[in-house]
Symmetry: none
């Protein structure tokens, strides 16, 4: 894709900003006014350049009839990443042996695999975080964590089953030592190696509704 000059870049930027803010495209005169041109023709030149370079396309003679075709984004609405459906378990019932109990879900969320950072075939699930033990890692009460089953590495945040309750902790393992879990909150103690340490999975992403 050919490069744009500074001015062309600004024009394209304004067109897109206008569209995002107003939900319809600007007219040539609006672009002219915004940049302080004294002639609509100044805009025309830039639009022609943008069209020639393939960034936009227009319908001749029609008002506000833009299409932004910057082939960087926007173009492939179809070939987008795969979206998976993830069940949200509130507090997990003790004895979550191997996974999916559809009945226990308090909700579901759907997100594409790339953003969530999970693989399709693994059975990911989500948890609603309760408590403040991971506040130091930016995970707050009420957040939703997307968890993927697997073996944790040192430093991963994991969902672990302790005392029949699922909590979020950071998994720490130094060579030749048994692993332990660490809360990311100064008020909470480190948890020393638990006998029954069941790692449910590794936290891959956090989603929070504001």
């Amino acid at each position: 894709m050919k490069d744009l000059t500074t001015r062309q870049h600004e024009i394209l930027g304004f067109i897109q900003l206008h569209f995002r803010q107003e939900n319809f495209w600007p007219s040539i005169r609006e672009i002219q006014t915004h940049f302080g041109f004294r002639s609509t023709n100044a805009v025309m030149g830039h639009l022609r350049a943008l069209e020639r370079k393939g960034y936009i396309s227009r319908v001749a003679g029609q008002a506000r009839a833009f299409r932004v075709t910057y082939d960087d984004g926007e173009t492939p609405p179809e070939g987008s990443a795969e979206v998976i459906d993830i069940p949200i378990y509130g507090h997990i019932a003790a004895g979550y042996p191997d996974g999916v109990e559809t009945g226990g879900a308090i909700g579901r969320l759907q997100i594409d695999v790339d953003t969530a950072g999970v693989r399709r075939n693994r059975r990911a699930f989500a948890l609603k975080v309760r408590g403040e033990s991971m506040i130091g890692a930016g995970i707050f009460d009420g957040d939703i964590v997307i968890v993927e089953p697997g073996l944790p590495k040192h430093g991963d945040i994991v969902a672990a089953l302790i005392d029949g309750e699922t909590t979020l902790k950071r998994f720490m393992q130094k060579p030749n030592h048994p692993p332990y879990l660490k809360a990311e909150n100064p008020d909470y103690p480190e948890l020393n190696p638990v006998s029954e340490l069941v790692i449910q999975g590794i936290a891959k992403a956090v989603v929070r509704s504001l």
Copy 2:
């Protein structure tokens, strides 16, 4: 929400269909032609009705300047919740007068509307957070915020355009006072009422890859 007549429903449908297919709104005469009316006024009547009933809003005198305020449904509920495709407008180039990065989207994410907390018809977009100014609200450098255009209320976290840069701040507005923006980080000062305060949208959700 008031009910629509059959004809009004058809008109609204066509407007939205046109927008999805062409990326810009139809003109009144295009609507007229599509339905075979012999007078533009037939369309005018329906548009007025749609506007009165709150389904759309328009900018008087401007061509193709629609906004669909309320979606009448029509969208097939595939599976469970509806998944929308959100463009990620990346790091905004610093010092850019219009605050838009060249190519437009640097990525996309897909998420269901309930989890994201946005409405289908509004054009939500996402931003990759840069900087630590909202660390107190649990939003960190590198997080992705999902933003929906709209008018902010007191206390909302907004994406605002200041000095040509988009930043995330909390929108504060006390009665009889001009609004100001506040960073959620003790190291950052409060931002007093800016003359050129452009609110791009309200942050609805945060997604973080771990």
